[in-house]
Symmetry: C2
Subunit: 255 residues, 2 copies
């Protein structure tokens, strides 16, 4: 579990900590929530990398869990990483009502109506006769990666009992821009820098934002989405500068 949760950009944890800071949430509770979302993210990667799913042998520059150990271990490691996320949320020093709300939102974001549904749609698309179109890809990504981004960015207001709407709008733009950038990296990226296999999508004949829109229009759309995400932060003024930088980072990153 420790191996699987190591490394990575910690972008989701960063979103939790920044959104918590904007709402004066106690750092200890914010750290529990940040650790929880990274555990959920790590669980999803371990299971996604399994031979029956994406069959990846490299993740964050290291052998995936089922390669380093075996498939049974990878299944159980993913299972227990999901559980520990809920353990950390349930044990957080936080008003109990807001904590229950945070847990409920996590379950909705991660489960069969959120991330896992997105993964199931993704797998179904691989064997479908007709490739996904742009609205379908947008829906898939909103579920598969967007739901956890939204949970992360809204954790602060939820823990503080404040309105999560501005940060939810920020997360929607950020999540989609992040995914477009991922599709671009799969084409232009370098395995040594990204720490994962590249060129997978084209190899699999998979519909992506780039294959559907073309490279330059996709890049322009990502820029527009980041601008909208930054605009959503208006109510927070200069305090949200870190989040604006993060949004610009996701489309300029090389890994």
């Amino acid at each position: 579990m420790r191996y699987a949760a190591g490394g990575g950009k910690r972008l989701r944890a960063f979103l939790v900590l920044e959104s918590a800071r904007l709402h004066d949430v106690a750092p200890a509770a914010a750290l529990d929530a940040a650790a929880a979302i990274e555990a959920v993210h790590a669980y999803s990667l371990v299971h996604d990398d399994l031979p029956a799913m994406d069959d990846d042998d490299l993740r964050r520059g290291l052998p995936t869990v089922h390669v380093k150990w075996d498939e049974a271990t990878a299944i159980l490691v993913g299972d227990a990483l999901q559980t520990v996320a809920f353990e950390w949320l349930a044990g957080a020093q936080l008003d109990a009502t807001r904590k229950a709300e945070l847990i409920l939102r996590m379950a909705r974001a991660a489960g069969g109506q959120g991330m896992v549904l997105g993964q199931a749609l993704d797998i179904a698309a691989e064997t479908a006769a007709v490739p996904l179109d742009l609205p379908e890809i947008k829906r898939l990504q909103a579920l598969k990666t967007g739901a956890l981004f939204e949970w992360s960015a809204t954790a602060g207001p939820v823990m503080a009992g404040a309105d999560p709407a501005p940060l939810a709008r920020y997360a929607a733009g950020l999540g989609l821009a992040f995914q477009i950038a991922d599709d671009i990296l799969d084409i232009e990226g370098d395995e040594a820098q990204t720490g994962k296999r590249v060129g997978k999508d084209a190899e699999a004949g998979k519909a992506t934002f780039v294959s559907l829109m073309g490279l330059e229009p996709a890049r322009a759309e990502a820029t527009r989405l980041v601008e909208d995400a930054c605009e959503a932060l208006h109510p927070y003024g200069a305090l949200a500068e870190n989040l604006r930088e993060a949004a610009r980072f996701v489309i300029s990153r090389r890994s």
Copy 2:
């Protein structure tokens, strides 16, 4: 998810509902908790049946999820069944502090210090040079099946803010007796009645209560454990008669 959660004895749900009734917990909240524990149990079966784990193709008299669909689906179905359990607990109509306690206990019982640790030990034992001895088997079973039994039987007092100790003692005896009965059924049982493959343990050369104690001593130990479980219910008097019957049922069942 619906297919995987169908059928079964609903023993864990029954324990939740009975322990809730003993503590005057509102039926709606008790039903949420009962559904949650059955979802966790179903998730554990779906993943346990995978080719990389126990590789079973029959469960509750029907093809297992990865046989009826495929492995990717079975992984995701198990993942989302775990998540929905936490969703139902988090959404239950219950005092928020007690709800957080119930969720925390679920995570501890199901995760890497509970059920999943038990499964990992079970898999490790299969390839170990030396078979497990009786104290090791007891520890393994206390984790693998005992932790969820304890959660179920103590859900009532936890939801009511009462002392869970008597029902925890009941669950410990019940859980171990249940496992011994399972080992006996694997030898004496009938595939048509149990709805799952039998004779697996002996085939795998696996240490069980029966292989370590012998058939009749194992049966006597199960009876003693059930008597102790029933004795633990003393504070509840005649109100706990259903739970006593359930304890007697687990060692007389044919499936």
